[in-house]
Symmetry: C2
Subunit: 159 residues, 2 copies
């Protein structure tokens, strides 16, 4: 899928220039920013910053990795992308911000979407049980993708 970011005027409708909470905002649509957004929106592979850097570099060979990080950070603050922070592994980014969860392959680390949502009521229960004011949540599954499952079976037979 090819994604084309159209700039209508000064900024995206979703892009404030930072709210009352002091966030940064997106003020200018530069070529780099557009390219990063388009590449991210165009895949469902949850690329890491480095992978995205390589992708964007096809179009903008002089872009720097720092720029990619800077923009991904801003985009996730602005709600244009999801930053999947699984500590212990590098962050991965998701251009699909609709509610869904993820499964990560224990073999190859690949992340896939899972179209499931947290059963309603569970957040309320968590709030009661913990005393925290719940603001968000994340469900992550771990598992084995088809490819790694086959590889594993073969390895076990071999040993």
């Amino acid at each position: 899928m090819l994604v084309m970011i159209m700039v209508t005027n000064r900024r995206f409708p979703e892009m404030g220039s930072g709210g009352a909470d002091g966030r940064r905002g997106i003020e200018r649509m530069t070529a780099q920013r557009r390219a990063i957004l388009e590449e991210l929106m165009g895949v469902d592979t949850h690329p890491s910053a480095l992978e995205l850097y390589e992708m964007v570099r096809q179009r903008l060979p002089r872009i720097s990795l720092g720029t990619v990080y800077r923009n991904l950070e801003i985009m996730s603050e602005e709600g244009l992308a999801l930053k999947l922070e699984h500590a212990g592994a590098e962050c991965r980014y998701d251009g699909n911000v609709s509610p869904h969860c993820h499964v990560r392959c224990l073999g190859c680390g690949r992340i896939s979407d899972v179209p499931l949502a947290l059963p309603e009521g569970l957040a309320v229960e968590a709030e009661k049980a913990s005393g925290y004011r719940i603001a968000g949540h994340r469900i992550e599954f771990d598992g084995w993708c088809g490819k790694c499952r086959r590889k594993r079976r073969k390895a076990r037979r071999g040993e």
Copy 2:
């Protein structure tokens, strides 16, 4: 709570010396290993490796951070501890391996336990929807703990 690790013979019942999947095992109960286990089991604060290092250092001033990391890694492989690879911060460790989930405070980063489990059936649904063989899962809530909530309210009134 004080936790005392008793060594019966060669090894813990739960501690294999590595399974068919080639994992490392725990062969020897050293003072360092015992101290790390005991400190981790004795708190419910989900310490990071560095925090645990500081805790253990009270007892074993010459222990090294590398040893703490090495042992935490092995323990989590052996199922004696949980490695919480939660969103964007350093890994934290949990001596409580019974099924439960966690909430992290958006203000101070503190992690607390939430005594809730994934509704049964959801893992099966995820398996069907994703094609992965699901092996585990994690539910993480984000929220504001009481202390940070009060701090925030005060700050907002102040501005």
